[in-house]
Symmetry: C2
Subunit: 351 residues, 2 copies
């Protein structure tokens, strides 16, 4: 039976990526050696890193001032790395609290400097994206989490502010187009739309670095990683290579514009059923619904055993919701085909 993989992350990846990654573990580029047993200083692996960095630039149409890095530690380390690099000693940063991951970023920023939460959706269990908030003119940046996996909300449109933006785009980068111009940093764990767990992408405005007056530990210093072309130390070679294969797949699919159209169609199909079917209700307010993670509950909680049986029988995997919302979460990342969403909608409609 074909499995419809709705996992929230790590999540579905294209089949050609899985085949290519497995092949490279056995024999990389016909070298007679595995990808994971060669030096990262070989021309072969340096080519992987450079192609991956270049494809990020190309797919996101990044202006020249941006550098691309593949580092480690996930967005969790990124929550600390970002203020260490962008929040000046004695300065202030503004954050929007849209849920668990935004709160994680706020917690780490507070260790570094003054952190002002300019808006929060906490009072309504993060079922919407705050709007109409003001950002202090003296903030070094405004930090946002563009998609909130647990609560199923997403910025539509992207936020604006009079100060530079910094965004955790872990769960929606490469799923839709955006204008990189207002950003000084974008970071994203790979394990949603970009590749396997084990690497985190940083897109960094090099002109915004070096202004904190703070001496940074080597691994947390984005300038040092940039100076070494993302090879300051041994990179996570498998994760970077599988990410490269996923980036190539994205280009073959027609790039981010084409992926955005597919993601919109998948989300519209599922949300239409949630709105039509009186046995389900969505968690997020309609205007802020995530195209990546649809959160919904049963109108009658007692229906859960029967519904769970139905979707499991249909080969659907990973639909159980996060405990913060309960119910269900359908994650529809780039590699999930429309057919899988249709399979879920069929189960819901029949139910």
């Amino acid at each position: 039976m074909h499995i419809h993989n709705f996992s929230a992350g790590p999540c579905i990846l294209p089949q050609q990526v899985l085949r290519g990654a497995a092949d490279a573990v056995l024999d990389f580029n016909g070298m007679g050696l595995s990808l994971i047993e060669i030096s990262h200083r070989t021309a072969e692996f340096e080519g992987v890193m450079e192609e991956a960095r270049g494809l990020v630039r190309e797919l996101l149409a990044l202006p020249d001032r941006f550098e691309v890095l593949f580092l480690q530690g996930g967005a969790t380390l990124g929550f600390y790395t970002v203020p260490m690099n962008f929040l000046p000693d004695g300065g202030k940063a503004a954050y929007v609290d849209t849920g668990t991951w935004a709160a994680g970023a706020i917690k780490e920023a507070r260790l570094v400097g003054t952190t002002e939460v300019v808006a929060s959706s906490a009072a309504s269990n993060h079922n919407h994206i705050p709007k109409g908030f003001s950002v202090p003119q003296d903030a070094a940046y405004l930090h946002v989490t563009t998609n909130n996996t647990i609560f199923g909300t997403q910025y539509h449109p992207y936020p604006t502010a009079d100060v530079p933006l910094i965004a955790d785009m872990s769960s929606d980068i490469f799923s839709r187009t955006f204008d990189p111009e207002p950003y000084s940093c974008i970071y994203a764990g790979a394990q949603k739309n970009m590749g396997p767990a084990g690497t985190v992408l940083y897109i960094v405005d090099r002109e915004a670095l070096g202004k904190t007056g703070r001496k940074l530990p080597t691994y947390l210093d984005l300038s040092q990683h940039i100076a070494k072309d993302s090879m300051l130390n041994t990179p996570p070679v498998f994760a970077v290579y599988a990410t490269l294969l996923t980036l190539r797949w994205m280009r073959e699919q027609g790039g981010v514009t084409a992926l955005e159209a597919r993601n919109r169609a998948k989300a519209e199909l599922l949300y239409a059923e949630i709105d039509r079917n009186p046995r389900f209700q969505g968690h997020a307010v309609p205007e802020d619904r995530s195209w990546m993670n649809a959160t919904f509950t049963l109108t009658e909680a007692s229906d859960a055993p029967a519904f769970d049986h139905a979707w499991t029988e249909a080969g659907i995997s990973g639909l159980t919701g996060h405990r913060s919302v309960g119910g269900y979460r359908a994650s529809m990342y780039n590699a999930l085909p429309l057919e899988s969403v249709q399979a879920l909608v069929d189960v819901m409609a029949t139910f």
Copy 2:
């Protein structure tokens, strides 16, 4: 042609590890899903993490007070994480400088607190391990780098001190037995004897934590990782799984005692040829020679083109030395068979 992989790291891994890792990327445990597209919160992956942590305990016969973690950022981030967790505010740490990686650890420790270099081999281009040095009684710990890949030196025997030891064992862990009793922390990047790049092992005395008086960022706080059983955030799933396969292989080989005997035999074979053959000379003093990385040069530098041609023709890969020493470096990690060392010795003897 069979390739003899002498790469200094990432380096040779057992063939069964490569096959098992590739299989799991295609279909993990018959789930119909790839290892890299399932949640790390599945019972299947939680089982991987727990088995890997348990095998580290078993293979190294660790006392109960030690916790085992698989984190990210390599030893480079470890250089900073260690003093942040073990060097008290206002306290002092002692370090031995045995080369590039030890110096990296010293650099990061200086950002955290008073760091006393109690011995250094720098004046002789790190061709030996300093001995007979004294360690201040008030040092929180003595930090050593047990094997020095670039210079080809290794502690024989292991260091002793009246204060707790902390060791970077990146390049020789699991290659020989040792008594864990004197240590409060051992850390090691996976990409030598343990697995692929992308994860770093921490072995932590939990009773030694929480004594710095310092508020730590989440990802750098070993206590928080311990509290979450090494799953504080999404772990590098592929690297951890391939490490598990390598740990299983080590157990099948007879454990660290058996691997130590093989490593000793490989090292003795190569060093005997270096000593016998007047066209070569070793860099490290004999008593401190590394069993993992043998560094040597040609007596006549003008022989290099002919020698390089000879070993390349013999299917030997990764023999070029690091620029800090020049010449050649033969890395003989656990998975390198004796036959590969014999192939190199044959080339040297014929030359």
